[in-house]
């Protein structure tokens, strides 16, 4: 009887996964507002000193803001950069006001549609959303006014987004790169699947690694089979300070701290020194957040409380 040949293991370290991001490349980051951004990955990108990145997403927050504050990017494209009820993203605001970073406007659907187009193998997708808005008059990048070939109606052709790398944070994966989402979850982040499918290289950070058998038992939870994933990293609490669906809540205290330390470029340097450069690994970061706080955020433990 033939022995099974070794299959490729896509599970890798955070350091090696972040090593796949090249300076000057286009990186798509998943998550939305204060939910489920791959923050552990973002912190490691800053530690590794990534530069000149073009960042794309659909609703971003501390992920883009931190990378902007750390000087990793010169161009961002998304429908939102902010901290929700915790206020504005101040590094983003400063950088765009000074001209240090260019922001290209999108609406939620125009950003999502660009990812969807690429995920469907299309080079563009028509949309009526930008017509006559500032997006058409001021931000004509990668958009063209067209007429429907059948009805003659006006549309804007949105060029598809095919980032060099996409990073999304999800719940479970096996070592081979099959990615599972929990059954109950906030449906805003279903967009992550399109973001992943649009990219040339796909990196997924997950809360936990599960057995192959668990994947066999739950094929309906698999949103990205291994053939569409390049690297998987286990980063428990990897969305912190953001939330991760029913697994843990967003950390209001940390967002308030983040906002306060973002008030000036100098104070933000202090934030990075303390929480990013000062924590050599993500375990250092989680130890600094502390078990008491993490337990508080995990209080509901995935069931209705």
């Amino acid at each position: 009887m033939n022995k099974e040949l070794e299959r490729q293991v896509k599970l890798t370290s955070l350091t090696d996964a972040v090593g796949l991001v090249e300076n000057g490349s286009t990186v798509a980051i998943g998550g939305s507002i204060i939910r489920r951004h791959p923050m552990a990955f973002v912190r490691e990108m800053i530690r590794q000193g990534k530069k000149d990145l073009r960042l794309i997403g659909w609703n971003n927050g501390a992920d883009f803001d931190m990378l902007i504050g750390a000087g990793c990017t010169n161009k961002v494209e998304t429908a939102y950069v902010g901290l929700s009820m915790f206020g504005m993203a101040l590094n983003f605001r400063r950088a765009v006001e000074s001209g240090a970073v260019t922001m290209v406007e999108h609406s939620e659907t125009t950003a999502i549609d660009r990812f969807k187009a690429a995920a469907s193998g299309l080079t563009f997708i028509p949309s009526k959303t930008p017509l006559a808005s500032g997006m058409e008059t001021e931000c004509v990048e990668n958009s063209v006014h067209i007429k429907c070939p059948f009805t003659g109606e006006d549309y804007i052709a949105l060029q598809a987004w095919t980032p060099d790398v996409a990073v999304v944070h999800m719940h479970m994966a096996d070592r081979y790169g099959n990615i599972l989402l929990d059954n109950r979850r906030m449906m805003d982040n279903e967009i992550d699947v399109f973001i992943a499918k649009s990219a040339k290289k796909v990196i997924v950070t997950v809360e936990q690694i599960v057995s192959e058998e668990y994947v066999y038992e739950n094929p309906h939870l698999n949103v990205l089979p291994k053939c569409w994933v390049d690297a998987v990293v286990e980063t428990p609490y990897g969305a912190h300070p953001g939330s991760c669906d029913t697994r843990y809540d967003y950390d209001a205290q940390h967002f308030e701290l983040y906002r306060e330390m973002s008030r000036t470029a100098e104070t933000f340097k202090g934030y990075l020194d303390e929480w990013v450069y000062g924590c050599k690994t993500e375990m250092d970061y989680l130890n600094k957040i502390g078990i008491a706080r993490l337990l508080e955020l995990t209080r509901a433990r995935g069931v209705r409380s």
Partner: protein, 279 residues
């Protein structure tokens, strides 16, 4: 102005509820705090519930991807957990929910703005020059989608000179553009455009021909001069200007005893931090 026996939030709730029709679908976004929450979320949510209870039992609220949520059971907090488990009939992927705009299935979009001009064009992107702004704001969010596709949009705002401006610095939400005939249709937009601005001083609609904002009713105790003094352009007044009909006893009873007894919506306690609308 002496105390009228109801709060401004209650008045705006009642006025908004009267604008909603049975069988319609209304879209609200969640994600702010304080006073902004009350205007963008609390009042629309309370208004949709009041409409369900008084004349529109089939009104369907959409809070992003959460469709037909049980407005009898507002979650106890904004914790992620509480939102995910908010009893609702339907939670679909957000892109499906937003595609309903494009399909023309969203009758009412509730939107807010940092700047709004006389034709209802809205700006939440920058103050100042777009390329080098004086103040950079959050971005378009889904506002461009609301304004392009919704059957109509309703804005609930604090009436202020710096909000109601002569010209917006960026159009993140298209109103009636320059007010010229069929401007929206000629641009290729299918949605109906802005219908009402419900402010802390008055209710404004849009002239059916010029598409200019016009004051339709002033709230009790407010004069047209008050409205003019707080508007950054010379606002028109509808020929049949009237007084806003204040809340009835029945409407107030419903709000205070049934819909929002704990102030989760109209005092922002759903966010964990009490707030009120300062006038």
């Amino acid at each position: 102005m002496s105390s009228p026996g109801y709060t401004i939030a209650e008045l705006l709730t009642v006025v908004t509820a009267r604008e909603l029709r049975d069988g319609e679908v209304g879209f609200v976004g969640i994600g702010t705090g304080g006073e902004a929450f009350i205007l963008a979320v609390g009042i629309p949510a309370a208004a949709m519930r009041l409409a369900q209870l008084t004349h529109a039992p089939n009104f369907v609220p959409m809070f992003g991807p959460i469709i037909d949520a049980d407005l009898r059971r507002i979650p106890k907090s904004m914790a992620e957990h509480d939102l995910i488990y908010w009893p609702s009939k339907c939670q679909i992927p957000l892109d499906d929910a937003l595609d309903m705009f494009k399909r023309g299935k969203i009758d009412v979009g509730f939107i807010s703005g940092t700047q709004i001009d006389r034709y209802g064009n809205i700006n939440i992107v920058v103050i100042g020059d777009y390329r080098r702004p004086k103040v950079r704001l959050v971005g378009c969010l889904a506002q461009t989608d609301h304004c392009a596709h919704a059957g109509r949009t309703i804005s609930i705002i604090k009436h202020a000179k710096r909000t109601l401006v002569e010209k917006v610095d960026f159009i993140s939400g298209v109103g009636f553009l320059d007010g010229s005939p069929d401007a929206r249709k000629r641009a290729g937009l299918r949605g109906g455009g802005p219908a009402k601005l419900i402010t802390t001083l008055c209710v404004m609609g849009f002239h059916p021909e010029t598409h200019e904002m016009q004051v339709e009713s002033v709230h009790p105790g407010v004069s047209v001069d008050d409205v003019r003094a707080n508007t950054g352009f010379d606002v028109q007044v509808a020929p049949d200007l009237r007084d806003t009909v204040p809340p009835t006893e029945e409407e107030l009873k419903l709000i205070r005893e049934v819909i929002d007894p704990k102030g989760m919506l109209l005092r922002a306690l759903w966010t964990g931090q009490e707030a009120t609308i300062g006038v």
